[in-house]
Structures are given as C-alpha cells and as structure tokens.
C-alpha cells in the first residue's frame, strides 16, 4: 500500500471518528509480471549491470611482471587502486572525490531530464529486488497464485517451494557478497582460497555481511528501503522541476474512470467517459504498490512497468496507448485545463548547467590524469635546526625528500641541489656521481623517504640571508624530472 493510500485511509478513519493507528503496518506487495517496452529495458539493464558486477573482477589487464594483473582492484594492503590503465595512489584520493562529484551531478542531470531514472532502472536496490522477484515468480507463480498460497495452510509442496525460494535467494546473495570481496584481492587466487577454506577471515566476514544485506534488503525490505530508508526521494523531490519527464497518468484522458460497460453506457448517454477501465493492472504490476493515478508520489520509483501494463490493456480494449506515460508536470497541468501539451524540452538552462559541470569536472580529471608525472618529489625543510654551522664555518641545511616512482620497474634517480654557489648535497649511505648528484635507486611503484643535507662552504655564506635552493630529481633514461623550490637558511 502506498504512503498516499495509507494517508487517505487514515483521513477516512478520522472522518468516521475512529482511532488512527500511530504506526503504519506494512502490507506485503505481490507485484504481477508484465511484458513490454520498459520491462525489456529493465531486463537489459539488469543483465548488463549484474554481469559487470559479477564478472568484472575476473577481467585481466597486463601491467608488467610484478604488478597485479587484475583490471579493477582495490589493493588495501599496498594502498593502491587499479582501474584498467589507471593507477591511483592514496595521495590522489581527490580522483575519488571527483568521481563522487560526477556521480552527484549525473544524478541531478538524470533527475532534470526524466525524474527517478536512477531509482527505477539503475539503483542496486531496484535491480536486486527485481532479480529476487523473478526468482519468487519462477518458484511460486505470479501475483494471484502467490496471494492465494499466502492464505493457504502449509503443505509439503508449499514448504518445498518456500525452501527452494529462500535457498535460491541465499545463493544469489552469497554470490553477491563473494563478488564483492573479489574486488579487493586477485580474483582467481581468492576464489581458490575461498573454496578450499584458506581465505582470510575478513573475506568470509564481508561475504557474510553482504549475503545478509542482499538477502534481507532484496528479499524482505524491498520497497520499504526506497520509501523509508533512502534519502534520495526526499532530495529528488526538492530538485524536481516542472519540465522533467515523469511517469504520469493522463487525467484528462482517463477520467472519469469506469469499466468498459459503464463507459459505453456513459458515452451513449452523451456524458464524458474516460479511457481508464479501472482494471487496476497499473497497481498490480507496481513493485512499490502505488497507484500512479494518485499522481506523483514519494514511493513511486518510476520504473515504467505501469506504462507497459496499461499499454497492454489499452491495446486489448482497442483504445490508444499512452494513458500512462512519461510526461512533464507542466503538461499535466495544461491538459487538466484543456490546453494543448507543450513539446518536451530536454535542453534547458538546468540540464545545460549540469552537463557543463559534468564536462568541466570530468575534463579536469582527465587532464590531470593524462599529465600526471611518473616522477614526483616533495621536500620538507628540517624544522629544527633550521641550519647547522659546521666547524669550518660552512652552513648546512637538512631536507626530507619523498621520491615517488610510479612505474612498475625499479628506477635510479639523480638528485641535485641547484641555485647555490658551491653547494654540496649528501645523504647517509647514498653514493654521489661526478657531478655531485645523489644516485638513488627507488623500487617499482614505491615512495622513498630520503633525508639529504645541503652544505654551502664558508666563503659563500651570506649571513642573515635565506637563499633559494632548487632540488631536482631526474630520471636519466626517460629524462623525466621534478623540482622543488625551498629555502636555504643561513645564520
């Protein structure tokens, strides 16, 4: 039962002077199967999205001998995130922020174009619930059969059915949890470990958690998640505008509703008769149990199944389809006033703004991703002491460098200090070449912390001044380099 129906029922109770219950008892929904255009779209999305989710961990991507060969991998132990050709280090977490911004703007854009596209077609809650409902129908039959069986006493056949349904649900849920952990370790290896009971305990714990959430949310909570737990419908309600497409019922065409016989009678008598035959098919197929004829409402996820159901009925009774369809609020109002519907405007300032913002954020991310340097360095001047006087009067400053080698092979970097006359650079246990550059090997895909000491001889010391020093790290084979400017303090 939809929230709206519940409220109307409560209002009726109040009118009749009866007590209104404080809490809404949930009523099981038995959605009926339906065929049609939107059902086919939903099937396609279901297979594609679940296919990606379940099989993506097994996709391989060659990154060289020692690097992981999994296309999508969150390597928590080594703090790396791999996504095909992209490798993200913890300090580049801003890419994740960029992705979240893109996700938010995409949601806004979808919402501005056609309302709850996310809820109706793409949300994991919708997709898995759809899958679980398919299993339920396959085992227990369609709406009428399920409703009937729910009232009958338990029989052996019934117990078998219930067991089979829950077993299949649990298998799907278990596979869902299993696929999840595969994103965090080498998938083929982990699968073998898991089935031979050699996996890490944390892997089993996460599988158990996700098995439970999938089974519980898709098997039992279903539309309650969308109506009462999810914040998006509330945010969405605040973002919607009169030009966005939404699943709507055409009051002007449908009302007054009535059975075929009744409407024929009305027509004969010259009164207005609507096209809606009040067959309730739109309500029966609805996975959240709303009546679309009550208008736009919070628990409608706009999956379009009522459109399919209504179109099928309209075709059968020989009336034009489209009694329920995607339409804008502005047209709903215009039609009620008897005005002609306006053409759909997808390109509006709002959608352009969202698209431009998506393009800007995406563009910045792509640009920084493509111009990332494979050599990086940061330098931190010693806080204490700022400078050190040596016995011969020369002055030394210490810097802590972080050298980053983002390639999958070990490389040797040359580190030099430039811009100071006669300056020498040295570091404990690190050799120098003839040009007084430190020769530093950095392991593949690693960060090396290195404390270097830069010394200026006494005759070049200018007391009371701080000079600029440029620390340069050079990868001699590719010629890639990075520099950091810092102070050189003197007494």
């Amino acid at each position: 039962m939809s929230v709206k129906q519940q409220q109307l029922d409560d209002a009726a109770l109040v009118e009749s002077g009866a007590e209104v219950p404080l809490y809404a008892a949930s009523k099981t929904i038995y959605p009926q199967s339906v065929e049609g255009r939107f059902r086919n779209i939903k099937w396609t999305i279901l297979f594609v999205t679940l296919g990606i989710y379940y099989f993506l961990p097994f996709v391989r991507w060659d990154r060289g001998l020692e690097a992981p060969s999994q296309a999508v991998l969150v390597d928590l132990a080594n703090r790396r995130f791999y996504f095909f050709f992209i490798e993200i280090w913890p300090q580049e977490f801003y890419y994740v922020m960029g992705l979240l911004i893109l996700a938010a703007f995409s949601l806004f854009l979808m919402n501005a174009v056609a309302g709850r596209i996310w809820c109706g077609y793409l949300c994991p809650q919708t997709v898995w619930t759809d899958l679980f409902l398919t299993v339920e129908r396959w085992v227990e039959g369609d709406r009428r059969e399920r409703m009937l069986k729910a009232t009958q006493p338990l029989s052996l056949e019934r117990v078998t059915e219930i067991t089979l349904k829950h077993f299949t649900w649990l298998m799907i849920a278990w596979w869902t949890g299993g696929a999840w952990v595969l994103y965090f370790a080498d998938a083929p290896t982990l699968v073998v470990q898991l089935v031979t009971f050699h996996g890490e305990p944390v892997a089993y714990v996460w599988i158990a958690i996700l098995t439970f959430t999938t089974y519980f949310l898709a098997g039992f909570m279903r539309e309650q998640v969308c109506t009462y737990m999810c914040p998006w419908p509330r945010i969405q309600a605040a973002l919607i505008d009169e030009w966005a497409l939404n699943v709507t019922y055409r009051y002007d065409r449908g009302e007054p509703r009535g059975s075929l016989k009744k409407s024929e009678a009305l027509k004969h008598s010259g009164a207005k008769a609507g096209d809606c035959v009040d067959c309730n098919q739109c309500v029966n197929v609805c996975p959240t149990g709303v009546d679309i004829r009550d208008g736009l409402q919070i628990d409608c996820i706009q999956c379009g199944l009522c459109i399919d159901a209504c179109d099928n009925i309209m075709t059968r009774v020989g009336r034009p389809t489209g009694l329920i369809g995607y339409d804008t609020e502005i047209n709903v109002e215009r039609r009620e006033k008897g005005l002609a519907a306006l053409p759909v405007r997808i390109i509006r300032p709002r959608t352009i703004l969202y698209a431009v913002l998506i393009a800007i954020v995406g563009g910045i991310m792509l640009y920084t991703l493509n111009t990332r340097n494979a050599v990086e360095m940061s330098a931190l001047h010693d806080r204490n002491p700022l400078y050190v006087t040596l016995s011969d009067g020369s002055i030394r400053n210490g810097y802590t460098l972080r050298l980053i080698n983002k390639q999958t092979v070990e490389r040797t970097f040359l580190v030099s200090a430039e811009g100071l006359t006669g300056a020498k650079i040295e570091s404990t246990a690190i050799a120098s070449d003839s040009a007084n550059r430190l020769v530093v090997p950095v392991g593949r895909d690693q960060t090396l912390e290195l404390r270097v000491l830069v010394t200026v001889p006494a005759q070049h010391v200018h007391e009371g001044r701080s000079e600029r020093v440029t620390i340069r790290v050079l990868e001699p084979i590719s010629g890639a380099f990075a520099t950091v400017d810092d102070h050189f303090f003197m007494p």
Binding site: Y228, R383, S391, D392
Partner: protein, 299 residues
C-alpha cells in the same frame, strides 16, 4: 469544519486537514498543525530493539558511573586494557626487528638498510621522548646543549663514542661517564680578572674572531699555555678524552662573544647529561646512537 477544542482553545484530537485531505496528529503549536505521516512498524521495532540492546550493553560493558567507581561490565572490557593489548600486539610485531637490532653491531645496523631505517625510526621516537627537551626536536641544541647535527663533538662522534656518552652520561655521577669539567679560574682565584680578559681575547683570535683593540695577545698566549693548554692542547684544538672543546673552529657551545668566554673562564663550565643506561634499555640506546650518528655529523 469546526474543530473541537480543549479549555485553552487548542485542538485536542486528530482531524482531516482541508488543504491536503490528510489526517493530522492532533498536535498543534501556535496554530500550526502536524500532518500524520505514520512510520512503518518495523521502524518502531528497531527502536525497541535498540533499547533492549542498550540494557544488555550496560550489563556487558562499563556503563554506569558510581560515587567512587563505575560498573565494570561482565565482559571485563576496558579502554585501557584494549590499548594495552594493542601495544602488546605491536611489541610482538616488532619483536623480530628489535631482536635483530639487539644482536647486530652498531656498524652492522648502519650498513644494513632495513635495520638502519628501523633504528632511525625507533631512535627518532626515543629522541623525541627523552632528548628533545634539551637538544631540541631535531637535535639542533641551544646554548649549553650541544648541537648533534654538526661535525664538532666534545666527547667524540663515532658510533662507539656516542653510545658511551649516551650510556654513561656526562658528569652525571656514573663512574664510567665523562667527568672532565672547565675549572672556575676566576672564582677560585687561579687567574686575575685582567688575565681572564686577555686570554679570552687570545681564544677568540684562535678562530679568527676580532679581538679588543690593543689586546695583549702575547700575554694571552702565555696565560693560555700555562693554564688552558693542558686540556685544550697547545694549538687550542681541544681534547675529546677530557671533553675539552676545539677553540679554533666556528662552533661554540655557549657562544663566541667575549663576555660569554669571560663568564666561562670565571665560573667554569660543567653541564650535565644524564646516564641513560638505567632509564632506557640497551636496544633503545642502540637505536638512539644510530639516529644521532646519522643526523649529519657522525664520524
């Protein structure tokens, strides 16, 4: 529709809101009434479950403050205990490295990158806890407290010498520690004020610092040879055995100003560094030695 009201004029029971067609809860605040949007029953159930959970939680975990103490909970869990467990875990994790550190020689530690990095990390932490109050966070020192980053060492800058200084301290009452001190030439009447003044000028001249105009450096040299050379050597280059600093270089523990030198000559110098043998374990002292040695001035 007329609404039934109580004595104070408030609506006291639910009615149907004429604008939305929805029932109200019957609550009213300053004429604003609340529409009834009932929650599902499972939501209420969860609320009750959290209350039950809280009840058992209070029994299981520390929860209720009493006058002098608090209820400890039947599970015996405590925040401190949990920290201790984690510290013990960390110790166990570091065990092999700590053992390797205690078995290796100082030189061996410094030459093995893995051991060196571990020793420097451990040393840095121990330095912050124990040494930084006097020597500064980075070992930069201050007046009277040696800078550990430079190449000038009062008692020697090799690994063994640093280790010995750390273990036994300086003038800290340890028989094996460093004992030498600068005598109070002025206070004890060994040198007169004018002799102190000229020897101070002479000492400044040793490292090329400007001296008082017309200073009698010849007398200064004589006083130096008779009184100071015994520890600081004839050429003023000092003696590490006695902790006598090199007076010819650019580094001054207390400062190069004439007044400071005169003060030292008059009242003597004898700063103290604690003997760490009884306070820190041998492995920590090893780690500290390697850390100090790699600060930049190690010999």
């Amino acid at each position: 529709m007329t609404l039934e009201t109580d004595k104070s004029g408030h609506v006291d029971h639910a009615h149907v809101d004429s604008h939305t067609g929805m029932a109200t809860t019957g609550h009213e605040w300053d004429g604003i009434r609340e529409l009834n949007t009932p929650l599902p029953r499972w939501w209420l159930t969860i609320l009750y479950m959290t209350i039950v959970w809280a009840f058992f939680y209070c029994i299981a975990y520390p929860a209720i403050p009493l006058f002098q103490t608090f209820t400890k909970g039947v599970l015996g869990w405590s925040a401190r205990g949990s920290v201790n467990e984690e510290v013990a875990e960390l110790r166990a994790q570091r065990g092999p490295m700590v053992a390797a550190l205690s078995n290796a020689s100082l030189k061996g530690i410094e030459q093995t990158p893995q051991l060196r990095n571990f020793a420097i990390a451990q040393g840095k932490a121990a330095f912050g806890d124990n040494c930084a109050p006097c020597h500064g966070a980075g070992g930069g020192g201050s007046k009277g407290f040696a800078n550990l980053n430079d190449d000038d060492w009062l008692w020697g800058g090799t690994l063994e010498q640093i280790s010995a200084t750390l273990t036994h301290g300086i003038r800290a009452g340890d028989d094996l520690g460093h004992l030498g001190a600068m005598p109070a030439f002025g206070r004890d009447g060994i040198l007169k004020a004018n002799e102190i003044s000229v020897v101070a000028d002479y000492v400044r001249s040793l490292s090329g610092l400007p001296v008082t105009t017309g200073a009698d450096l010849k007398t200064g040299a004589k006083v130096f040879a008779e009184n100071c050379a015994v520890c600081h050597a004839d050429n003023g280059k000092g003696n590490m055995e006695l902790g006598a600093p090199n007076l010819t270089d650019a580094i001054w523990l207390y400062g190069p100003e004439k007044a400071t030198i005169v003060e030292g000559l008059t009242n003597g110098r004898g700063g103290v560094m604690p003997a760490w043998a009884g306070r820190l374990d041998a492995t920590t002292i090893k780690a500290l030695t390697v850390y100090v040695h790699t600060l930049g001035g190690g010999k």
